[in-house]
């Protein structure tokens, strides 16, 4: 069957089998491999893309069902060379380690901030509660989204690679402080 949809602002038209899932359509037909594919069971959330601005798990949506809709993937976050504040936030606050969960996390964060520009940490944690990160422990992801909320127009990221490596970047100190806090409490 023939389908048309908008992906990151571009009209796309393809001839596909109705059983093709949106995640495979995006990755294999369109070649946009930034959208990751993990559990395949709508649990991990790495496959999240925005459909008409709302996060959906693209492993559980047929490409045919997305026809006529507006899809945004992680490749559609930056405009040209300018990163989305959410992407900057993830850099600034170390919101990723292996990066597997990151595309889904960033798109959910984008949708959250579009709806609620000043979410508190509980709202951020709730928004990403359908997504799993096996690396970061979530604290840095939450802080990355907070960074984006505090910098709606983006901004120069102030952490240099050197600061990150030698641990003098503030985000690293914050984590250390938080970990100590947690230890004191327990």
């Amino acid at each position: 069957m023939q389908i048309n949809m908008t992906v990151n602002g571009n009209e796309v038209t393809s001839d596909i089998e109705p059983r093709v899932l949106l995640v495979h359509y995006i990755r294999e037909v369109l070649g946009l491999t930034g959208t990751h594919w993990g559990c395949d069971t709508s649990n991990c959330g790495t496959c999240v893309v925005l459909m008409d601005g709302q996060p959906v798990k693209s492993c559980t949506v047929l490409a045919a069902m997305a026809a006529g809709h507006d899809i945004r993937t992680v490749e559609g976050l930056a405009s040209g060379a300018t990163l989305d504040p959410v992407q900057q936030g993830f850099m600034e606050e170390h919101g990723l380690q292996c990066g597997f969960c990151t595309p889904g996390m960033m798109l959910t964060a984008r949708a959250l901030l579009d709806k609620n520009p000043h979410p508190d940490t509980t709202e951020i944690r709730k928004a990403i509660s359908g997504q799993i990160c096996r690396c970061t422990g979530y604290a840095t992801i939450v802080r990355s989204v907070q960074w984006a909320a505090a910098h709606p127009a983006g901004g120069d990221t102030d952490a240099t690679v050197d600061e990150v490596i030698d641990g003098t970047d503030t985000a690293v100190e914050d984590i250390a402080a938080e970990t100590q806090d947690a230890e004191v409490k327990s």
Binding site: P18, T41, L62
Partner: protein, 292 residues
Amino acid sequence: MQIPAPFDYVRATSVDNALELLSRHGAESRVIAGGHSLLPMMKLRLSRPEWLIDINDLYELDFILRDGDKLRVGALTRHTTLLESDEIAALFPIVRDAEAVIADPVVRNRGTIGGSLCQADPAEDLSTVCDVLGAEAVIRGPAGERILAMADFHRGPYETAVGQDELLCELRFPIRPRAGSAYEKVERRVGDWAVGAAGASVTLAADGTIADAAVGLTALGLAHTVAEAAGLLRGQQPREELFVEAGRLAAAACDPVADQRGPIDYKRHLADELTRRVLRQACARAARTQEG
């Protein structure tokens, strides 16, 4: 990689068109709403429809509408819409209680109330919610429309009264004065199906006694509401000993199975404890509407 078996796909343009497509394509055709129960089953090849009739364009089935003493909710209303509706939260706080713990926010952007009820998984939270609120299901088919009480809608696990050539179109919830309701669920982790859950709805008489009450359980092996608890509560002043006794009756009435979510005695304990909590909360909420 989980890929569904091949099928043909068509988008319905109206309810009548969906009914016509269901009749035309016959027994091997299925409607798809949010797809968050059907697609996982198709990916596992537990379900292999030959035709999928997509009803996501039927905005006429996506509404929340107050109509006299009924609140009408279209079958295509998404979980997220239900969760965020202040009107529903004011009239039926149990809906917001339940929606906050159904799956996760991203799944809730797709899943619908109609799909939840038609899926009829024993762990489906909205089934219990509709049971205790005394909802009616509006079903349309080639022969026209019929309206069923929840007791007649449910036919057991994964089975409902909705025929192959029919569509669930809306749910109607009776709005009653001095009413309160609540839902509480125990889950292993955020977004998981219930280990066990309970829902309650009560209405108070003008003198503050319980005029009517319904208690339902999710994933605990009880398809209908706990009739014994309703009988016990009616005509009584809400009080702790009553909630404790209702909890005991709910635990005795349920029939849970041991699985990876827990052993039988633990689940019975949940039936008991959660029944007490939701009754306490539902009565407190009903009393507050009386004050206000």
